[in-house]
């Protein structure tokens, strides 16, 4: 294998063997085995300790079937899917103009300042950031106060314990994962492409639709996939900003594990969520006609 040979040329035989061994152990012990364990869990019924290994202990798809039999869980599953798509689209809508501004409009100074302002909040833990939104969006919180003061509303709006709060919180939480790939993609576009389109008569919208967006497609796809995965797998934001009105599938999984004590069922649900994410990713890649290689860039 050429990688091994390259490493050997640089570090010598014994060290290379050690590096590869560590890598192998890490991949097997920390990544592969736990996953296999979870697959095994998900395929077995939840039994009392003394029933394990008994006649009832065998592989079955019953845990997976639960989701399709339970109307509420299925609804939450679909709602998580739909809401994550919505979060992704909203984040893209917010991030694209921002990325365009950073990449092509702002002076280097402005861009640096703007990036700094974007990044600083991420020095704080996600839970704390979500809590700050909890305060901002509260029924008697600053946002409602402001809107009332401006006379835009007569009485406070209940932002929390519903989808609106979750959307706001998630767009905020994952904006960087969208902005950076899109920004990188737009940055690499030759300015003359945009100038040429303008020169040939194209307005702003058409220039973006025909020139900038097609060029930035891999970046947009990357951003969408990351945002969707994070949104679908998010626990803190819906738990803090959405409950009890907006439940996320991750909360059901959590409940199976830690409240229902049914790891087998939880594992099955977790894998269903994983399948959903992989499905979404393949769909996006197909729609945007990009390969894994484009995204890895």
């Amino acid at each position: 294998m050429s990688i091994a040979r390259q490493l050997a040329a640089r570090f010598g035989g014994p060290l290379t063997a050690a590096i590869l061994a560590l890598l192998g152990i890490w991949l097997i012990l920390m990544v592969t085995l736990p996953q296999l364990q979870m697959i095994d869990y998900s395929l077995r019924p939840n039994l009392l300790p003394d029933q394990r290994g008994g006649p009832e202990d065998g592989w079955t798809l019953a845990n997976y079937a639960t989701l399709f039999a339970n109307d509420i869980h299925r609804a939450i599953f679909l709602k998580t899917l739909w809401s994550s798509v919505l979060v992704t689209l909203l984040t893209l809508g917010v991030s694209y103009p921002l990325a365009w501004y950073l990449a092509k409009v702002a002076t280097p100074r402005q861009a640096a300042l703007c990036l700094l302002l974007l990044i600083i909040p991420f020095w704080i833990n996600e839970i704390l950031r979500t809590y700050s939104w909890f305060i901002l969006l509260a029924f008697r919180g600053p946002l409602n106060e402001l809107l009332m003061m401006l006379g835009l509303i007569d009485r406070p709006i209940r932002f929390l314990s519903g989808d609106a709060g979750v959307m706001v919180g998630m767009v905020y939480a994952y904006i960087l994962f969208m902005v950076f790939p899109v920004y990188n993609a737009i940055e690499s576009l030759d300015d003359n492409q945009v100038r040429a389109a303008r020169d040939l008569g194209a307005g702003t919208l058409r220039t973006h639709r025909r020139i900038v967006i097609p060029h930035a497609k891999p970046g947009i796809a990357t951003g969408c996939i990351m945002t969707f995965m994070l949104a679908a797998g998010s626990y803190a934001v819906p738990a803090l900003l959405g409950s009890p009105g907006s439940r996320w599938f991750t909360q059901i999984i959590y409940n199976w594990f830690f409240e229902g004590g049914n790891w087998n069922q939880g594992a099955a649900y977790a894998f269903l969520l994983l399948v959903l994410c992989i499905g979404f990713m393949s769909l996006v890649m197909k729609v945007f006609k990009v390969g894994l290689g484009d995204i890895a860039k």
């Binding site: 003359n192 100038r195 040429a196 020169d199 040939l200 008569g201 307005g203």
Partner: protein, 384 residues
């Protein structure tokens, strides 16, 4: 269709830096007009003011007599060919050419017909469905021309479009561009730092330096009657001898060239050549020739420094006995055969010239062109 372009006292400043000093100029409809100058002279800035990418700090641009102030890039009757062509790499050749028409809401069939016609004009029939990266450099060039022509501009702006091509192709594309310009009758405004391009293609050339027009003239006048020292040095090759005016003799002036004795030269375009004025005498390398040491007329004793074979001619560098300056002399093959023996390094040689073929210009403080490197020297470095 009036494709004339008029610049009225335009000034372009970027902060403290003045890229274009007050400039007025009229380019006729259907003219092939070039801006020639070293990089950084402001020629691209001028082009961007015509295309609308830049708004002049002062003055105005008129196209076809209409003021362009407030008219955005996408509404101007111009089309630009970019230095890097800026073809759309994700589109086919057809889509590239049709882009401007698509924007204008032209229907698909008319678009395709126009694209086919333009591809025929640039000799690329059948390349329509190809991807841009399947094309060679010259083919890309042609697609860029077709794409710009598709929107039927009144003025085509070309920003050094040939600079990325190799020499042979570049020379070929020159005649091609000229032919396309004649066929379409569109005003071409061509930006280049390559004097060969400017001289061979243009009806008129504006030589620019440091944000100012040095001279606007047809190529022959530019070469034979340079108006400033910068033009004399930048357009073609020129030897320069510093001197002082002793006497005006009508079209000619008698000069005191210090150690080189008295010389005569032809008065250049500028009239300010009174007695005692510091001037420069410009001698083209092809106007110098070896003569017998006792020949009459203008002679300069020298010693051959080096001889380089350039194919159709020999380039001889000779150091003047009087001043130690090196002059370059270009000899056709016939002359060089005749003087074969005298043309070895170290041999004594006498250079002769006809004063009628020279130009005498007042010494100005403007930027100059270094004779050996061809680089532009700013006014402040003018001590040698």
């Amino acid at each position: 269709m009036d494709g004339s372009v008029r610049l009225e006292e335009v000034v372009m400043r970027f902060g403290d830096f003045t890229a274009i000093d007050k400039t007025s100029l009229t380019i006729g409809s259907g003219e092939f007009f070039s801006f020639l100058g070293p990089s950084g002279c402001g020629k691209t800035t001028l082009l961007n003011m015509v295309s609308g990418f830049l708004t002049p700090s002062e003055g105005q641009v008129l196209i076809g007599g209409e003021p362009m102030a407030g008219v955005p890039v996408n509404r101007r009757p111009t089309a630009m060919i970019f230095q890097n062509l800026a073809l759309f790499p994700l589109m086919t050749v057809f889509d590239n050419i049709e882009f401007g028409l698509e924007v204008r809401g032209v229907d698909r069939r008319t678009r395709r017909a126009t694209a086919e016609r333009l591809l025929a004009l640039v000799a690329l029939e059948g390349s329509g469905p190809k991807r841009i990266d399947e094309l060679s450099g010259g083919q890309k060039q042609r697609v860029a021309i077709a794409r710009a022509l598709a929107v039927e501009p009144r003025v085509l702006l070309l920003d050094e479009p040939l600079s990325a091509l190799d020499l042979k192709l570049r020379q070929h594309m020159r005649s091609e561009l000229k032919a396309i310009q004649r066929k379409t009758g569109i005003t071409f405004i061509y930006i280049t730092h390559d004097q060969g391009e400017a001289l061979t293609m243009s009806d008129r050339v504006a030589v620019m330096s440091a944000g100012r027009l040095q001279q606007v003239a047809d190529p022959v006048t530019l070469y034979r009657q340079p108006a400033t020292g910068f033009v004399a040095a930048f357009v073609g090759e020129n030897n320069r001898i510093e001197a002082r005016v002793i006497e005006r003799l009508g079209e000619r002036v008698r000069l005191d060239a210090g150690a080189l004795g008295e010389l005569e030269g032809r008065v250049g375009e500028e009239a300010g050549l009174g007695v005692g004025v510091e001037v420069a005498l410009y001698l083209r390398p092809e106007q110098l020739r070896p003569v017998a040491a006792d020949a009459g007329g203008m002679t300069l004793p020298a010693r051959v420094e080096s001889v380089s074979f350039e194919g159709a001619w020999l380039m001889v560098a000779a150091r003047l006995e009087g001043s130690g300056e090196v002059l370059r002399m270009q000899l056709g093959s016939e002359v060089s055969r005749r003087f074969a023996d005298a043309l070895a390094p170290g041999e004594a040689i006498t250079l002769g010239f006809d004063p009628a073929e020279t130009v005498v210009l007042p010494r100005d403080d403007g930027p100059r062109v270094d004779a050996e490197t061809g680089e532009v020297v700013e006014a402040s470095d003018e001590h040698r």
